[in-house]
Protein backbone atom coordinates (compact mmCIF):
# COMPACT_ATOMS: atom_id res chain seq x y z
CA UNK A 1 0.00 0.00 0.00
CA UNK A 2 1.26 3.44 -0.83
CA UNK A 3 1.20 5.77 2.05
CA UNK A 4 3.44 8.24 3.74
CA UNK A 5 5.55 7.01 6.64
CA UNK A 6 4.91 10.40 8.21
CA UNK A 7 1.58 9.23 9.61
CA UNK A 8 3.09 6.42 11.58
CA UNK A 9 6.38 7.97 12.63
CA UNK A 10 5.16 8.79 16.15
CA UNK A 11 5.02 5.95 18.68
CA UNK A 12 1.54 5.30 20.05
CA UNK A 13 2.44 6.24 23.62
CA UNK A 14 3.49 9.72 22.50
CA UNK A 15 -0.13 10.54 21.79
CA UNK A 16 -1.19 10.35 25.44
CA UNK A 17 0.74 13.41 26.60
CA UNK A 18 -0.45 15.19 23.47
CA UNK A 19 -4.11 14.37 23.98
CA UNK A 20 -4.09 14.82 27.74
CA UNK A 21 -2.29 18.17 27.75
CA UNK A 22 -5.58 20.11 27.47
CA UNK A 23 -6.95 18.29 30.51
CA UNK A 24 -3.86 19.12 32.55
CA UNK A 25 -4.09 22.73 31.46
CA UNK A 26 -7.82 22.93 32.20
CA UNK A 27 -7.54 21.47 35.70
CA UNK A 28 -4.51 23.62 36.52
CA UNK A 29 -6.23 26.78 35.27
CA UNK A 30 -9.46 25.89 37.06
CA UNK A 31 -7.66 25.34 40.37
CA UNK A 32 -5.86 28.64 39.95
CA UNK A 33 -9.14 30.38 39.20
CA UNK A 34 -7.97 31.37 35.74
CA UNK A 35 -10.88 30.06 33.69
CA UNK A 36 -13.07 33.14 33.87
CA UNK A 37 -15.99 34.01 36.11
CA UNK A 38 -17.38 30.48 36.15
CA UNK A 39 -14.43 28.07 36.30
CA UNK A 40 -16.60 25.05 37.07
CA UNK A 41 -18.73 25.33 33.91
CA UNK A 42 -15.69 26.18 31.83
CA UNK A 43 -13.92 23.06 33.07
CA UNK A 44 -16.97 20.82 32.76
CA UNK A 45 -17.86 22.04 29.28
CA UNK A 46 -14.33 21.99 27.93
CA UNK A 47 -13.76 18.42 29.11
CA UNK A 48 -17.03 17.44 27.39
CA UNK A 49 -15.97 19.13 24.20
CA UNK A 50 -12.57 17.45 24.17
CA UNK A 51 -14.27 14.10 24.70
CA UNK A 52 -16.42 14.76 21.67
CA UNK A 53 -13.51 15.94 19.54
CA UNK A 54 -11.53 12.81 20.32
CA UNK A 55 -14.52 10.59 19.60
CA UNK A 56 -14.82 12.31 16.23
CA UNK A 57 -11.12 11.84 15.54
CA UNK A 58 -11.51 8.16 16.40
CA UNK A 59 -14.40 7.83 13.99
CA UNK A 60 -12.34 9.48 11.27
CA UNK A 61 -9.64 6.80 11.32
CA UNK A 62 -11.44 4.25 9.19
CA UNK A 63 -12.71 6.66 6.49
CA UNK A 64 -9.28 8.30 6.28
CA UNK A 65 -7.78 4.90 5.72
CA UNK A 66 -10.29 3.66 3.21
CA UNK A 67 -10.90 6.80 1.24
CA UNK A 68 -7.72 8.83 1.65
CA UNK A 69 -5.14 6.12 2.34
CA UNK A 70 -4.01 7.78 5.52
CA UNK A 71 -3.35 5.05 8.00
CA UNK A 72 -3.83 6.12 11.58
CA UNK A 73 -5.04 2.74 12.77
CA UNK A 74 -1.99 2.41 14.96
CA UNK A 75 -3.24 5.35 17.03
CA UNK A 76 -6.86 4.39 17.30
CA UNK A 77 -6.57 2.87 20.75
CA UNK A 78 -4.80 5.96 22.12
CA UNK A 79 -7.49 8.17 20.62
CA UNK A 80 -10.31 6.05 22.01
CA UNK A 81 -8.83 5.70 25.48
CA UNK A 82 -8.12 9.42 25.65
CA UNK A 83 -11.71 10.15 24.68
CA UNK A 84 -12.84 7.88 27.49
CA UNK A 85 -10.53 9.60 29.95
CA UNK A 86 -12.12 12.94 29.03
CA UNK A 87 -15.64 11.56 29.42
CA UNK A 88 -14.66 10.14 32.82
CA UNK A 89 -13.13 13.44 33.96
CA UNK A 90 -16.23 15.24 32.67
CA UNK A 91 -18.42 12.92 34.74
CA UNK A 92 -16.12 13.29 37.73
CA UNK A 93 -16.37 17.09 37.58
CA UNK A 94 -20.14 16.82 37.28
CA UNK A 95 -20.46 14.57 40.34
CA UNK A 96 -17.78 16.18 42.47
CA UNK A 97 -17.89 19.91 41.66
CA UNK A 98 -21.16 20.60 39.84
CA UNK A 99 -23.58 18.48 41.88
CA UNK A 100 -21.20 18.37 44.85
CA UNK A 101 -21.94 14.72 45.55
CA UNK A 102 -25.59 15.38 46.14
CA UNK A 103 -26.52 11.85 45.13
CA UNK A 104 -30.27 12.40 45.19
CA UNK A 105 -29.93 15.40 42.85
CA UNK A 106 -27.67 13.33 40.61
CA UNK A 107 -30.16 10.48 40.53
CA UNK A 108 -32.99 12.93 39.79
CA UNK A 109 -30.90 14.31 36.92
CA UNK A 110 -30.24 10.85 35.52
CA UNK A 111 -33.89 9.79 35.52
CA UNK A 112 -35.51 13.15 34.77
CA UNK A 113 -33.16 15.09 32.49
CA UNK A 114 -32.83 13.54 29.04
CA UNK A 115 -29.49 15.23 28.42
CA UNK A 116 -28.03 13.59 31.52
CA UNK A 117 -29.71 10.25 30.80
CA UNK A 118 -28.23 10.30 27.33
CA UNK A 119 -24.78 11.39 28.50
CA UNK A 120 -24.80 8.67 31.13
CA UNK A 121 -25.85 6.07 28.56
CA UNK A 122 -22.98 7.14 26.35
CA UNK A 123 -20.58 6.82 29.27
CA UNK A 124 -21.86 3.34 30.12
CA UNK A 125 -21.42 2.30 26.49
CA UNK A 126 -17.88 3.60 26.31
CA UNK A 127 -16.75 1.93 29.54
CA UNK A 128 -16.70 -1.67 28.20
CA UNK A 129 -14.91 -0.45 25.09
CA UNK A 130 -12.18 1.14 27.20
CA UNK A 131 -11.88 -1.99 29.34
CA UNK A 132 -11.50 -4.22 26.28
CA UNK A 133 -9.01 -2.03 24.45
CA UNK A 134 -6.14 -4.46 24.86
CA UNK A 135 -4.71 -7.49 23.13
CA UNK A 136 -5.91 -9.98 25.69
CA UNK A 137 -9.53 -8.92 25.25
CA UNK A 138 -9.29 -9.16 21.47
CA UNK A 139 -8.02 -12.67 21.83
CA UNK A 140 -10.73 -13.61 24.29
CA UNK A 141 -13.58 -12.04 22.35
CA UNK A 142 -12.28 -13.08 18.95
CA UNK A 143 -11.70 -10.45 16.27
CA UNK A 144 -15.32 -10.69 15.10
CA UNK A 145 -16.87 -10.38 18.53
CA UNK A 146 -14.50 -7.60 19.53
CA UNK A 147 -15.30 -5.63 16.40
CA UNK A 148 -19.01 -6.08 16.94
CA UNK A 149 -18.71 -4.84 20.53
CA UNK A 150 -16.70 -1.83 19.49
CA UNK A 151 -19.37 -0.72 17.05
CA UNK A 152 -21.01 0.66 20.20
CA UNK A 153 -18.78 3.68 19.73
CA UNK A 154 -20.99 4.76 16.82
CA UNK A 155 -23.98 4.94 19.13
CA UNK A 156 -22.02 6.52 21.97
CA UNK A 157 -20.70 9.29 19.72
CA UNK A 158 -24.17 10.08 18.39
CA UNK A 159 -25.50 10.16 21.95
CA UNK A 160 -22.67 12.44 23.03
CA UNK A 161 -23.54 14.90 20.27
CA UNK A 162 -27.27 14.72 21.04
CA UNK A 163 -26.40 15.35 24.71
CA UNK A 164 -24.67 18.56 23.66
CA UNK A 165 -27.59 19.63 21.47
CA UNK A 166 -29.93 19.14 24.42
CA UNK A 167 -27.92 21.41 26.70
CA UNK A 168 -27.78 24.55 24.63
CA UNK A 169 -30.40 27.24 24.32
CA UNK A 170 -31.55 28.10 20.77
CA UNK A 171 -29.44 26.61 17.94
CA UNK A 172 -25.82 27.72 18.17
CA UNK A 173 -23.52 26.43 15.45
CA UNK A 174 -21.02 24.40 17.46
CA UNK A 175 -23.12 21.43 18.62
CA UNK A 176 -24.76 21.24 15.19
CA UNK A 177 -21.33 21.02 13.56
CA UNK A 178 -20.22 18.26 15.94
CA UNK A 179 -23.41 16.32 15.32
CA UNK A 180 -23.08 16.80 11.56
CA UNK A 181 -19.46 15.64 11.57
CA UNK A 182 -20.36 12.44 13.37
CA UNK A 183 -23.23 11.67 11.02
CA UNK A 184 -20.95 12.41 8.08
CA UNK A 185 -18.19 10.12 9.35
CA UNK A 186 -20.66 7.31 9.97
CA UNK A 187 -22.22 7.78 6.53
CA UNK A 188 -18.78 7.53 4.91
CA UNK A 189 -18.67 3.94 6.11
CA UNK A 190 -21.36 3.17 3.58
CA UNK A 191 -19.12 4.34 0.73
CA UNK A 192 -17.31 1.39 -0.88
CA UNK A 193 -13.56 1.31 -0.26
CA UNK A 194 -11.23 2.61 -2.95
CA UNK A 195 -9.25 -0.24 -4.48
CA UNK A 196 -5.89 0.16 -6.05
CA UNK A 197 -4.68 -2.54 -8.42
CA UNK A 198 -3.06 -5.31 -6.44
CA UNK A 199 -4.66 -4.44 -3.13
CA UNK A 200 -5.96 -7.37 -1.20
CA UNK A 201 -9.63 -8.16 -1.18
CA UNK A 202 -10.17 -7.55 2.47
CA UNK A 203 -11.10 -4.15 3.65
CA UNK A 204 -7.80 -2.63 4.78
CA UNK A 205 -9.42 -0.99 7.82
CA UNK A 206 -10.57 -4.32 9.12
CA UNK A 207 -7.48 -6.19 8.08
CA UNK A 208 -5.15 -4.11 10.11
CA UNK A 209 -7.43 -3.70 13.07
CA UNK A 210 -6.52 -6.86 14.87
CA UNK A 211 -2.84 -6.32 14.39
CA UNK A 212 -2.92 -2.89 15.90
CA UNK A 213 -4.49 -3.94 19.16
Amino acid sequence: MTQSRLWTALPEWALYPLFLAPAVYLFAAAFMNALGADPLKALENQLGEWALRLLILGLAVTPLMRLARINLVKYRRAIGLSAFIYVSLHLLVYVWLDQQQNWSAIWQDIVKRPYITIGMTAFLMLAPLAITSNRLSIRKLGAQGWRRLHRLVYVAAILGAVHYLLIVKAWPLEPIVYFGLIVFLLALRLVPARRSPGSRKRDPANASLGASR
Binding site: F31, P39, L40, L43, Q100, A105, R113, V168
Partner: protein, 318 residues
Protein backbone atom coordinates in the same frame (compact mmCIF):
# COMPACT_ATOMS: atom_id res chain seq x y z
CA UNK B 1 -9.95 52.09 16.45
CA UNK B 2 -11.14 49.17 18.53
CA UNK B 3 -10.00 50.58 21.83
CA UNK B 4 -11.74 49.45 24.96
CA UNK B 5 -13.53 52.20 26.77
CA UNK B 6 -14.60 50.45 29.90
CA UNK B 7 -15.77 52.65 32.72
CA UNK B 8 -12.89 53.45 34.96
CA UNK B 9 -12.80 51.58 38.27
CA UNK B 10 -13.23 53.06 41.72
CA UNK B 11 -9.96 54.08 43.37
CA UNK B 12 -9.78 50.91 45.40
CA UNK B 13 -9.49 48.76 42.33
CA UNK B 14 -7.61 50.95 39.93
CA UNK B 15 -4.38 49.06 39.65
CA UNK B 16 -5.63 45.55 39.01
CA UNK B 17 -8.34 46.68 36.66
CA UNK B 18 -6.08 48.89 34.62
CA UNK B 19 -3.76 46.01 34.10
CA UNK B 20 -6.72 43.92 33.10
CA UNK B 21 -7.96 46.64 30.78
CA UNK B 22 -4.68 47.10 29.05
CA UNK B 23 -4.22 43.39 28.68
CA UNK B 24 -7.62 43.10 27.05
CA UNK B 25 -6.98 45.97 24.67
CA UNK B 26 -3.77 44.34 23.61
CA UNK B 27 -5.44 41.06 22.97
CA UNK B 28 -8.40 42.42 21.05
CA UNK B 29 -6.97 45.53 19.52
CA UNK B 30 -3.74 44.06 18.27
CA UNK B 31 -1.20 46.49 16.95
CA UNK B 32 -3.44 49.51 17.16
CA UNK B 33 -3.80 48.92 20.87
CA UNK B 34 -0.13 49.53 21.35
CA UNK B 35 -0.70 53.13 20.33
CA UNK B 36 -3.53 53.31 22.84
CA UNK B 37 -1.36 51.99 25.61
CA UNK B 38 1.05 54.86 25.07
CA UNK B 39 -1.68 57.46 25.41
CA UNK B 40 -4.09 55.27 27.32
CA UNK B 41 -3.47 56.59 30.80
CA UNK B 42 -4.59 60.06 29.82
CA UNK B 43 -7.66 58.88 27.97
CA UNK B 44 -8.72 56.88 30.99
CA UNK B 45 -8.21 59.78 33.35
CA UNK B 46 -10.34 62.05 31.18
CA UNK B 47 -13.06 59.47 30.85
CA UNK B 48 -13.27 58.96 34.55
CA UNK B 49 -15.27 62.08 35.35
CA UNK B 50 -17.51 61.81 32.32
CA UNK B 51 -18.53 58.29 33.20
CA UNK B 52 -19.30 58.83 36.87
CA UNK B 53 -22.94 58.87 37.88
CA UNK B 54 -24.37 60.43 41.01
CA UNK B 55 -26.70 57.90 42.53
CA UNK B 56 -28.33 57.70 45.92
CA UNK B 57 -28.61 54.44 47.83
CA UNK B 58 -31.92 52.63 47.86
CA UNK B 59 -33.70 50.74 50.61
CA UNK B 60 -34.55 48.12 47.99
CA UNK B 61 -30.90 47.07 47.71
CA UNK B 62 -29.61 43.81 49.11
CA UNK B 63 -26.56 43.87 51.34
CA UNK B 64 -25.24 40.57 50.00
CA UNK B 65 -21.67 40.49 48.73
CA UNK B 66 -21.49 42.08 45.29
CA UNK B 67 -19.90 40.37 42.34
CA UNK B 68 -16.69 41.91 41.08
CA UNK B 69 -16.78 44.39 38.23
CA UNK B 70 -14.72 41.94 36.22
CA UNK B 71 -17.17 39.07 36.70
CA UNK B 72 -20.15 41.26 35.81
CA UNK B 73 -18.50 42.59 32.66
CA UNK B 74 -16.90 39.41 31.29
CA UNK B 75 -19.63 36.82 31.82
CA UNK B 76 -22.62 37.96 29.81
CA UNK B 77 -25.43 36.54 27.74
CA UNK B 78 -26.01 39.09 24.99
CA UNK B 79 -26.57 37.02 21.86
CA UNK B 80 -26.48 40.09 19.61
CA UNK B 81 -22.71 39.84 20.10
CA UNK B 82 -22.37 36.04 20.02
CA UNK B 83 -23.47 33.02 22.04
CA UNK B 84 -20.32 32.65 24.15
CA UNK B 85 -20.39 34.40 27.49
CA UNK B 86 -17.09 36.04 26.61
CA UNK B 87 -18.36 37.37 23.26
CA UNK B 88 -20.08 40.52 24.56
CA UNK B 89 -16.93 41.71 26.36
CA UNK B 90 -14.98 41.01 23.18
CA UNK B 91 -17.27 42.60 20.62
CA UNK B 92 -19.59 45.10 22.31
CA UNK B 93 -17.00 47.87 22.07
CA UNK B 94 -18.11 48.24 18.42
CA UNK B 95 -21.50 49.48 19.54
CA UNK B 96 -22.30 53.18 19.15
CA UNK B 97 -24.31 54.25 22.18
CA UNK B 98 -24.18 57.98 21.62
CA UNK B 99 -26.47 59.33 20.24
CA UNK B 100 -29.22 57.09 21.59
CA UNK B 101 -32.95 57.51 21.82
CA UNK B 102 -35.83 55.34 22.95
CA UNK B 103 -38.97 55.62 20.89
CA UNK B 104 -41.89 55.56 23.29
CA UNK B 105 -45.20 54.86 21.60
CA UNK B 106 -48.16 52.58 21.19
CA UNK B 107 -51.31 53.26 23.20
CA UNK B 108 -50.17 56.61 24.53
CA UNK B 109 -51.47 60.11 23.82
CA UNK B 110 -48.08 61.81 23.86
CA UNK B 111 -45.66 59.52 22.06
CA UNK B 112 -42.12 60.86 21.68
CA UNK B 113 -38.47 59.98 21.64
CA UNK B 114 -36.60 59.96 24.90
CA UNK B 115 -32.89 60.73 24.61
CA UNK B 116 -30.40 58.98 26.84
CA UNK B 117 -29.34 62.37 28.30
CA UNK B 118 -32.85 62.82 29.62
CA UNK B 119 -32.64 59.55 31.52
CA UNK B 120 -29.20 60.38 32.87
CA UNK B 121 -29.99 63.92 34.00
CA UNK B 122 -33.77 64.28 34.27
CA UNK B 123 -34.32 61.79 37.08
CA UNK B 124 -32.99 60.91 40.47
CA UNK B 125 -30.58 58.10 39.85
CA UNK B 126 -30.59 55.38 42.45
CA UNK B 127 -28.18 52.60 43.16
CA UNK B 128 -30.03 49.30 43.29
CA UNK B 129 -28.05 46.28 44.37
CA UNK B 130 -30.05 43.35 43.06
CA UNK B 131 -29.69 39.62 42.78
CA UNK B 132 -29.73 38.45 39.16
CA UNK B 133 -30.74 34.85 38.51
CA UNK B 134 -30.08 33.46 35.05
CA UNK B 135 -32.40 30.80 33.66
CA UNK B 136 -29.25 28.70 33.13
CA UNK B 137 -28.80 28.23 36.87
CA UNK B 138 -26.21 30.79 37.94
CA UNK B 139 -26.61 34.08 39.76
CA UNK B 140 -24.82 37.31 40.65
CA UNK B 141 -25.32 40.33 42.89
CA UNK B 142 -25.05 43.51 40.84
CA UNK B 143 -24.97 47.18 41.87
CA UNK B 144 -27.02 48.80 39.12
CA UNK B 145 -27.64 52.50 38.78
CA UNK B 146 -31.00 53.41 37.35
CA UNK B 147 -34.39 55.01 37.53
CA UNK B 148 -37.64 53.34 38.35
CA UNK B 149 -39.47 52.48 35.15
CA UNK B 150 -42.66 53.80 36.77
CA UNK B 151 -41.18 57.29 36.93
CA UNK B 152 -40.71 57.25 33.15
CA UNK B 153 -44.14 55.74 32.48
CA UNK B 154 -45.68 58.48 34.64
CA UNK B 155 -44.44 61.07 32.16
CA UNK B 156 -46.73 59.56 29.55
CA UNK B 157 -50.46 59.79 29.11
CA UNK B 158 -51.03 56.08 28.66
CA UNK B 159 -54.42 55.03 27.31
CA UNK B 160 -56.68 52.87 29.45
CA UNK B 161 -56.62 49.99 27.00
CA UNK B 162 -52.87 49.47 27.45
CA UNK B 163 -52.32 46.30 29.46
CA UNK B 164 -48.70 45.51 28.65
CA UNK B 165 -45.41 47.20 27.93
CA UNK B 166 -43.30 45.87 25.05
CA UNK B 167 -39.56 46.53 24.79
CA UNK B 168 -37.21 46.21 21.86
CA UNK B 169 -33.40 45.96 21.62
CA UNK B 170 -31.39 47.68 18.94
CA UNK B 171 -31.08 45.82 15.63
CA UNK B 172 -27.87 46.97 13.98
CA UNK B 173 -26.03 44.10 12.30
CA UNK B 174 -23.14 46.36 11.30
CA UNK B 175 -22.22 46.68 14.98
CA UNK B 176 -23.66 43.44 16.35
CA UNK B 177 -21.83 40.40 14.96
CA UNK B 178 -24.41 37.98 16.38
CA UNK B 179 -27.02 39.58 14.13
CA UNK B 180 -24.83 38.95 11.09
CA UNK B 181 -24.65 35.18 11.58
CA UNK B 182 -25.81 33.19 8.55
CA UNK B 183 -27.96 31.04 10.81
CA UNK B 184 -29.41 33.51 13.30
CA UNK B 185 -29.68 31.96 16.77
CA UNK B 186 -32.67 34.15 17.59
CA UNK B 187 -35.10 36.22 15.56
CA UNK B 188 -34.00 39.87 15.73
CA UNK B 189 -34.71 42.33 17.10
CA UNK B 190 -34.91 40.96 20.63
CA UNK B 191 -38.30 41.69 22.15
CA UNK B 192 -39.50 41.49 25.74
CA UNK B 193 -42.61 42.45 27.63
CA UNK B 194 -44.10 43.06 31.05
CA UNK B 195 -47.61 43.34 32.35
CA UNK B 196 -48.41 46.98 33.21
CA UNK B 197 -48.40 46.31 36.96
CA UNK B 198 -45.04 44.55 36.69
CA UNK B 199 -43.64 47.43 34.68
CA UNK B 200 -44.78 49.94 37.29
CA UNK B 201 -43.59 47.92 40.25
CA UNK B 202 -41.07 49.85 42.36
CA UNK B 203 -38.45 47.11 41.93
CA UNK B 204 -38.49 47.44 38.13
CA UNK B 205 -35.83 49.80 36.88
CA UNK B 206 -34.26 51.10 33.72
CA UNK B 207 -30.57 50.72 34.46
CA UNK B 208 -28.12 53.23 33.01
CA UNK B 209 -25.15 52.41 35.17
CA UNK B 210 -23.09 49.84 36.99
CA UNK B 211 -20.79 50.34 39.96
CA UNK B 212 -21.50 54.07 39.96
CA UNK B 213 -20.57 54.63 36.33
CA UNK B 214 -22.33 54.50 32.98
CA UNK B 215 -23.32 51.06 31.86
CA UNK B 216 -20.63 49.05 30.04
CA UNK B 217 -21.67 48.08 26.53
CA UNK B 218 -21.58 44.35 27.17
CA UNK B 219 -24.14 44.85 29.94
CA UNK B 220 -26.68 46.52 27.68
CA UNK B 221 -25.56 50.12 27.33
CA UNK B 222 -26.77 52.71 27.37
CA UNK B 223 -30.04 51.63 28.95
CA UNK B 224 -31.53 48.29 29.88
CA UNK B 225 -34.37 46.89 31.89
CA UNK B 226 -33.76 45.16 35.23
CA UNK B 227 -36.57 43.07 36.70
CA UNK B 228 -34.89 41.27 39.59
CA UNK B 229 -37.57 38.68 40.35
CA UNK B 230 -37.54 37.29 36.82
CA UNK B 231 -34.94 35.24 34.97
CA UNK B 232 -32.23 37.40 33.48
CA UNK B 233 -33.36 37.21 29.86
CA UNK B 234 -36.45 39.28 30.74
CA UNK B 235 -34.14 42.19 31.57
CA UNK B 236 -33.77 43.32 27.96
CA UNK B 237 -30.64 45.22 26.99
CA UNK B 238 -29.83 48.26 24.82
CA UNK B 239 -33.46 49.37 24.52
CA UNK B 240 -34.55 51.44 21.52
CA UNK B 241 -38.34 51.15 21.75
CA UNK B 242 -40.97 51.00 24.47
CA UNK B 243 -44.56 50.46 23.39
CA UNK B 244 -47.76 50.36 25.42
CA UNK B 245 -49.94 47.58 24.02
CA UNK B 246 -53.17 45.77 24.67
CA UNK B 247 -52.09 42.21 23.88
CA UNK B 248 -49.39 40.22 25.61
CA UNK B 249 -46.21 40.81 23.59
CA UNK B 250 -44.53 37.73 22.12
CA UNK B 251 -41.15 37.77 23.79
CA UNK B 252 -38.16 36.49 21.83
CA UNK B 253 -37.32 33.46 23.97
CA UNK B 254 -40.97 32.58 24.29
CA UNK B 255 -41.24 32.61 20.51
CA UNK B 256 -38.10 30.50 20.22
CA UNK B 257 -39.24 27.79 22.65
CA UNK B 258 -42.71 28.40 24.12
CA UNK B 259 -42.56 25.27 26.30
CA UNK B 260 -39.34 26.39 27.93
CA UNK B 261 -39.67 30.14 28.36
CA UNK B 262 -43.02 31.52 29.44
CA UNK B 263 -44.09 35.13 29.22
CA UNK B 264 -43.77 35.55 32.99
CA UNK B 265 -40.51 33.68 33.58
CA UNK B 266 -40.56 34.47 37.27
CA UNK B 267 -37.74 32.86 39.21
CA UNK B 268 -39.35 29.81 40.76
CA UNK B 269 -37.49 26.87 42.33
CA UNK B 270 -40.63 24.73 42.12
CA UNK B 271 -41.07 24.96 38.37
CA UNK B 272 -38.16 23.36 36.55
CA UNK B 273 -36.98 24.30 33.10
CA UNK B 274 -38.09 21.32 30.99
CA UNK B 275 -34.46 20.33 30.51
CA UNK B 276 -32.89 21.20 33.85
CA UNK B 277 -33.67 21.86 37.50
CA UNK B 278 -34.20 25.34 38.90
CA UNK B 279 -34.03 24.32 42.57
CA UNK B 280 -30.50 25.52 43.17
CA UNK B 281 -28.09 28.00 41.68
CA UNK B 282 -24.39 28.69 41.57
CA UNK B 283 -23.46 32.18 42.73
CA UNK B 284 -20.69 33.33 40.42
CA UNK B 285 -17.45 34.45 42.00
CA UNK B 286 -16.80 31.66 44.49
CA UNK B 287 -14.32 29.78 42.35
CA UNK B 288 -14.16 26.11 41.53
CA UNK B 289 -15.42 24.79 44.86
CA UNK B 290 -18.29 27.20 45.26
CA UNK B 291 -21.25 25.60 47.05
CA UNK B 292 -24.64 25.65 45.37
CA UNK B 293 -27.29 27.72 47.10
CA UNK B 294 -31.06 27.23 47.14
CA UNK B 295 -32.95 29.33 44.64
CA UNK B 296 -35.58 31.50 46.33
CA UNK B 297 -39.14 32.05 45.18
CA UNK B 298 -39.25 35.18 43.01
CA UNK B 299 -35.49 35.33 43.50
CA UNK B 300 -36.02 36.40 47.11
CA UNK B 301 -38.42 39.25 46.23
CA UNK B 302 -41.58 37.33 47.13
CA UNK B 303 -42.58 39.77 49.85
CA UNK B 304 -42.60 42.64 47.37
CA UNK B 305 -44.03 40.96 44.27
CA UNK B 306 -45.94 37.88 45.45
CA UNK B 307 -49.22 39.78 45.41
CA UNK B 308 -48.91 40.44 41.67
CA UNK B 309 -49.48 36.75 41.03
CA UNK B 310 -52.11 35.87 43.60
CA UNK B 311 -54.52 33.20 42.40
CA UNK B 312 -52.36 32.47 39.36
CA UNK B 313 -51.28 28.91 38.67
CA UNK B 314 -47.53 29.48 38.36
CA UNK B 315 -46.94 26.08 36.81
CA UNK B 316 -49.23 27.15 33.98
CA UNK B 317 -48.15 30.79 33.80
CA UNK B 318 -44.46 30.04 34.12
Amino acid sequence: MPSYRYPVPPASEITPRNIFLNRRSFITGGASAIALAASGVNVLAQDQDARKLNAVASALSTDEAQNSYEDITTYNNFYEFGVDKSDPARYANQLTTDPWTIKVGGLVNNPREVGIEELLTGYDLEERVYRLRCVEGWSMVIPWVGISLASLIDKFDVQGSAKYVAFETLERPSEMPGQRAIFPVLPWPYVEGLRMDEAKHPLTILAVGLYGEVLPKQNGAPVRLVVPWKYGFKSIKSIVAINFVEEEPTATWHKQAPREYGFYSNVNPNVDHPRWSQKTERRIGGGLFNQRIDTQMFNGYEEQVGSLYENMDLTKFF
